[in-house]
């Protein structure tokens, strides 16, 4: 990972809404193909950071680089950054097939049907082509949303708490599928969650966020066993209470990998 190129670089990023400064001089890098998680409590600025990288809002100060190219002022539709939302955000007036094909049609791609079929097969959602979002379960909708995002081969994949709306069993399954898909496609991924256990299990690296700032960045093991900051220790402590022991944590993480 050390020798690979930088997929996402955020430099001195700041963003305010009115008098509230949501993001304060944010700096971090994600290497190409890396799975990084922004972990923090609600309202700490995770989603705002995601939307800044997506390009749906623009920073007051600072720079955003994607594949080492300055994208700070580039509008969202020209960035080739994919996003999957907590609420799936599927187009309700389109079938599953049309949802997935949407990005390919916009870009006038060839072999749209083949590409859609391939991604649907990968995500195990073949047969749902003609269904509308309101005819699909939460898990199916999330898979369609993932397929729609991945089929256009984005430079960066942003996941905004994508598992918050699914039940525990499905969350475990989808978590595993997301990780497998990310590994197989090699897409640089930024995952946003407030769930400590999820972050520790799924990520290559974790950035702990608090009040619009990154407190500490490190691998799940480093942050879990040797946190440098008191806040990180307190924030991750809850995982020990959830899992019976550290062996449980290692087992869970092992299953994902």
């Amino acid at each position: 990972m050390e020798d690979s190129k930088i997929g996402v670089k955020v430099e001195n990023l700041s963003k305010s809404f009115g008098s509230d400064q949501i993001i304060k001089n944010l700096n971090f890098k994600i290497m190409n193909g890396e799975f990084m998680t922004l972990l923090g409590s609600s309202g700490c600025g995770k989603t705002t950071t995601l939307r800044l990288i997506l390009g749906s809002i623009f920073p007051d100060e600072g720079k955003i680089y994607l594949d080492e190219e300055d994208m700070t002022d580039i509008p969202c539709h020209k960035r080739n950054v994919g996003i999957v939302y907590q609420n799936y955000a599927l187009f309700p007036h389109m079938t599953a097939y049309r949802n997935i094909a949407f990005g390919l049609e916009v870009k006038n791609e060839k072999d749209i049907e083949t590409k859609v079929q391939n991604i649907m097969e990968k995500l195990n959602i073949l047969g749902l082509e003609d269904r509308y979002p309101n005819q699909l379960s939460g898990g199916q909708q999330q898979r369609i949303a993932l397929a729609r995002t991945l089929v256009v081969e984005p430079k960066v994949l942003l996941l905004d708490e994508p598992l918050s709306n699914v039940d525990a069993k499905l969350r475990y399954e989808l978590r595993s599928e997301i990780k497998t898909l990310q590994k197989s496609t090699g897409v640089t991924t930024l995952y946003v969650t407030h769930d400590q256990e999820e972050a520790l299990i799924i990520s290559d690296r974790i950035a702990i966020m608090e009040n619009g700032e990154i407190i500490e960045v490190g691998s799940p093991g480093d942050l879990y066993f040797n946190p440098e900051k008191e806040y990180t220790r307190d924030f991750l402590e809850i995982v020990e209470k959830k899992l019976e022991n550290l062996e449980d944590f290692r087992k869970k993480r092992g299953k994902i990998r």
Binding site: R51, L54, G55, S56, P75, C76, H77, K78, R79, N80, V81, G82, I83, Y85, N87, A89, F91, P92, H93, F102, G103, V106, K107, Y132, P133, N134, R148, T149, V152, P154
Partner: protein, 255 residues
Amino acid sequence: MKNRVFSVFVVLFLSVLILLPLSITFLLSVVPAWGQAIPNEFGLIWWKAILKPAYVKAVFNTFVVAGLSSICIIVYGIAGSYLFSYYDFIGKDFLFSMILSPTYVSCTVVSLGLIVAYVPLRNTLGMMILGNFVIVSPFVMKYMHSSMSQISKDLIEASYSLGSSKINTFMKVILPLSRHGILAGIILSVGMCISALSIMLMLYNAEWITIPIYIYLENTTGTLGIAGVFSTILIVVTLMTVYLVDYVSEKYGRF
């Protein structure tokens, strides 16, 4: 039991109070001469009479004025709703409430303002269209805006993130998802423009007399039969409009 009887009586009384004028309007159109309390002769002479060129022209004028007004109102309504739903700018809320203000002011007052403000347009077809535009567009804007602003911002962002431009997102995501509000706005606009009287009375041009103006003029000269026919047509058009608005809202309002 007494309360129940009283309630039924009140409901019946109110129903008669509301429906009587509408029913009599229809009766006017099928009674050749209303000389006594209860008419003893019915016929279609007034319905045949409206086939005269002057009356046909009134019908034609009504649809031309309503059609041209509605085109302007709908284009403005869609563009304005998009602007107020998806852009932030200083004074947005104030401007929006100003745009909607004609809905709270009397049509006569608005007409007077138009006559004074746009002197060169006085007594022209343009002024009639402008009058409809000022009075009707706020209602249409309300419908369209409430429908468009309900679309989740995540859907718009998702579309952009998939490489879709603003225009493409508008055409393929925003318009289809707000279509029930837009259709309801179109129907409302046509319905209101067709039946507009108070504003048209202040602004009309002799060449462009519309059905509501004819009804008013016929009424003042005592020719109630023709007024009855035109009124019946307007009632039918209005009821169809209301039905269509309900039907469109029901059918396309849900996914």
